[in-house]
Symmetry: C2
Subunit: 250 residues, 2 copies
Amino acid sequence: MRIDVVYAPNAVTPADLAGRTVVVVDVLRATTSIAVALANGAKAVLPAASTDEALRIAQNLERDAVVLAGERKSVRIEGFALGNSPAEFSPEAVSGKTIVMTTSNGTQALIAAQGAREIIAGAAVNFSTVAQRARAALEQHGDLVILCAGGDKQFALEDAFAAGRLTKVLLPEGGLRRVTVNDGAVAALELARHYGERWARALRASAHGRELVELGFRSDLEMCAAQDTHPVLPLYADRRITAHRASNEG
Amino acid sequence: MRIDVVYAPNAVTPADLAGRTVVVVDVLRATTSIAVALANGAKAVLPAASTDEALRIAQNLERDAVVLAGERKSVRIEGFALGNSPAEFSPEAVSGKTIVMTTSNGTQALIAAQGAREIIAGAAVNFSTVAQRARAALEQHGDLVILCAGGDKQFALEDAFAAGRLTKVLLPEGGLRRVTVNDGAVAALELARHYGERWARALRASAHGRELVELGFRSDLEMCAAQDTHPVLPLYADRRITAHRASNEG
């Protein structure tokens, strides 16, 4: 059994992920917003690599059925209906809609993971739901990658902490003696030990968390730190992230 | 005052490092071997990006004055006099010689740092000497980057621990309240808290450390984990790493 934690999408190639289960984590804020959108009835979220690509994808969809969302430097892209604050993805805004989304790090990490066997979008808001699916994948395939979106190719504390929390709950009885982990997972577990279940503390300690507070997004941090408020399982396949229904299982 | 810890050379561009002081860390084993070579009387170490480049550089030097050193997949490059075990860089092998060296991660990280204001090669064997110089740079310029070589673009535990140890001893009284650190430094400090001064434990816990033991390099780990055995200050400028003499100071 093997768990790898990777701290930035540019540290892996498609070949590194082929055939594996990947949990993509961008707690602040893309994977949180994706989980909230799907929990609130969005039909799908379509990640786009750029503003232009988002517009191009949206053009091919029925105008009333699509919502453009995304940020650059944490701020909503001009002309887009939604930014990247999870609170914006309310049932009124997203129910029944297809969201086309482009963000600085999160959607890039999702796109980098394409080609993996299964791609799950994980955050605090859907933590236990994701952990359950990841545990099933580990049991069935013996292998899991947790891919942190990071920030501008750099290590991001909030994602590393989330990866550590997830690794910790997935460790079988007997802990590290019964599973092979990479160095990234060892360090992530150390952060999980330090912050415990205190998501808010880890998020506030992170550089991006402090930046968001300065930009006026303090309430986003609280929403992103709330564990299991949106127990949905977002799966990314064929360029679409959709909520996996329990009835589809096995 | 600012300290940034970066976990892989591909996470930074030359522009990110311009005008800054950079400590490059590859504890297992390149920066250890470089410190040992210089402490044992090597005139200079010239990092090369590839085997071909190493051969080309060596051709332009006097045959008797040059020693080729380096590894791929931890094993000595065929035809090279030395591999990357610090014990190989004995006074008999290196005194008065110019070492041309190419390794999988360490020399690549050094080359990536070119263009910085000052580049220091740091390891456990010269830890306090490097810390002293880094402290002086922080006091004078208010800024330091610790660049981990990592392994194949990935986070490496031994380098992250070394970065944490170095960050910890550099923190001014008042700790994190008096210095700005990036998320990488926060996580590195957590590893420093966990392993304390137990270099050997951190090195043995790392994936590359375990791999080296399997390949028969157990004694390398012991040598790489021994703090302050080779108190030399390797500075990299104009494509050459040389031992800085105290008499050159200010």
